[in-house]
Amino acid sequence: MNPVIEARDLRFQYDDGTVALRGVDFRLYPGETVAVFGANGSGKTTFVLHLNGLLEGQGSVEVCGLPVAKQNLAKIRQKVGIVFQDSDDQLFMPTVLEDVTFGPLNLGLTPEAAFERAHRALHQVGIDEAAAKAPYHLSAGQKKRVAIAGILAMEPEILVLDEPTTFLDPPGQHALAELLRGLPQAKLLVTHDVEFAAALADRAVFFEKGRIAGEGTVAQVIERFGWSRAVIPSTG
């Protein structure tokens, strides 16, 4: 089976000299869900931003066989949907419906087709009733759903979620896990939330100092890198 994402020896350095990626090799296969763990500043988000060409480093990234390069960016951004950590960064249009149609209209769809896709995506995430609302009237959980709808409306083949459980209460996290479980796309979950990842991911990779230091099942990775909530000692 061909991978939907393949990164080879990916390296990246920010303008201020910070080396964020030091040779990342990674593959994501159709339909699988991979959790990406790692400390803050280990390069997870920088890696994710390479997947649809928002950052451009050395080495290579291919999405569904297409090299991430300027001439392919429009196609690649349709294939890789990134849901950002803070939904407020993603919901910039005046109403939910306009926000969800933003992507489809940019793809060149007619307003009617964009409307249809938007309504379908809003229905898929279970928030049809919010279509006419302004984003600032929504709760954090609703905003996250709308942000996901905005990505689903572009009909991507890969979903990348950066810290998807941030700002969500436990019922919101549960609802999000249920929603993601029902989506057929290949998924990359960048998260610190071990329980959330364990509930959804088929495997996990661990970022350390700009490279993937290890991979395996979620249980294997958290065991190997001591990456669990139990590290906080109990006072009892």
Partner: protein, 235 residues
């Protein structure tokens, strides 16, 4: 906060709320031209305009007194110009300046109080307002809520640490908070731009077509502009 209240007002239901923004914008523009071009001695006309706006506020079921207070926000700005005219020996001109500014602010308040921002922007877009300007207005309005929330959090955090005694210390703290707010807003702008690019943004925000312009909207616009013309010719 002003924009929260206006947002609530604009989501009301009335004859004016139901009118298309493309009818209301030229209507207000016509009114502004009427007020701006009225002669300096225009007290009777000013009174009629004021009563018309009060009637508009009442018809839109907006709180009249609150709207009158809010429109007063322009007065400190024009007071300086009015004072200059007054000191130059033109008290009537000074008064008319204040009257015109207040009436204009009240008319614009009636427009934004009866038109939700998305509709207002769409209306301005279909009437040919520059897209870039509208994009800036749209982002400003959208993120005003987020930035003001951040500012409130920072203020609260400052209070939780005991606040600061003395005007000078408070001023310094406020200046620091402003700088932080600016850098955070800048950072957020970068993130927003990234999220726009990842959804195929190519420098132009697509705008959905506005709903149909009805005969009632045309009739409203025609009637309102006729009143303005009538008042202008009588002035």
């Amino acid at each position: 906060m002003h924009h929260v209240v206006l947002e609530q007002w604009s989501r009301g239901q009335s004859f004016l709320h139901a009118r298309d923004a493309r009818a209301k914008i030229p209507a207000v523009l016509g009114f502004l031209i009427l007020v701006a071009t009225a002669p300096a001695h225009f007290e009777p006309l000013a009174l009629i305009c004021f009563l018309l706006l009060i009637a508009g506020l009442a018809a839109a079921r907006l709180p009249v007194m609150a709207a009158l207070r809010r429109a007063g926000v322009v007065l400190p700005f024009c007071a300086a110009f009015a004072a200059i005219s007054f000191l130059a020996g033109e008290p009537r001109r000074a008064l008319s300046l204040l009257e015109k500014s207040y009436l204009s602010a009240l008319a614009v308040l009636l427009l934004v109080g009866t038109t939700p921002m998305p509709q207002l922007l769409r209306g301005l877009d279909s009437l040919g307002a520059p897209r870039f300007l509208l994009m800036v207005a749209q982002f400003l309005y959208r993120y005003l809520f987020v930035i003001s929330e951040q500012a409130q959090h920072m203020r609260m955090a400052g209070r939780c640490r005991g606040g600061l005694a003395g005007r000078r210390a408070r001023f310094r703290a406020a200046a620091g908070a402003l700088a932080v707010l600016f850098s955070r807003s800048y950072e957020r702008a970068e993130k927003i731009h990234r999220s726009m690019l990842s959804r195929g943004f190519d420098g132009r925000i697509p705008v959905l077509a506005a709903a149909g312009f009805q005969a009632l909207d045309a009739a409203f616009l025609a009637a309102w502009l006729s009143v303005c013309l009538l008042l202008r010719s009588a002035a």
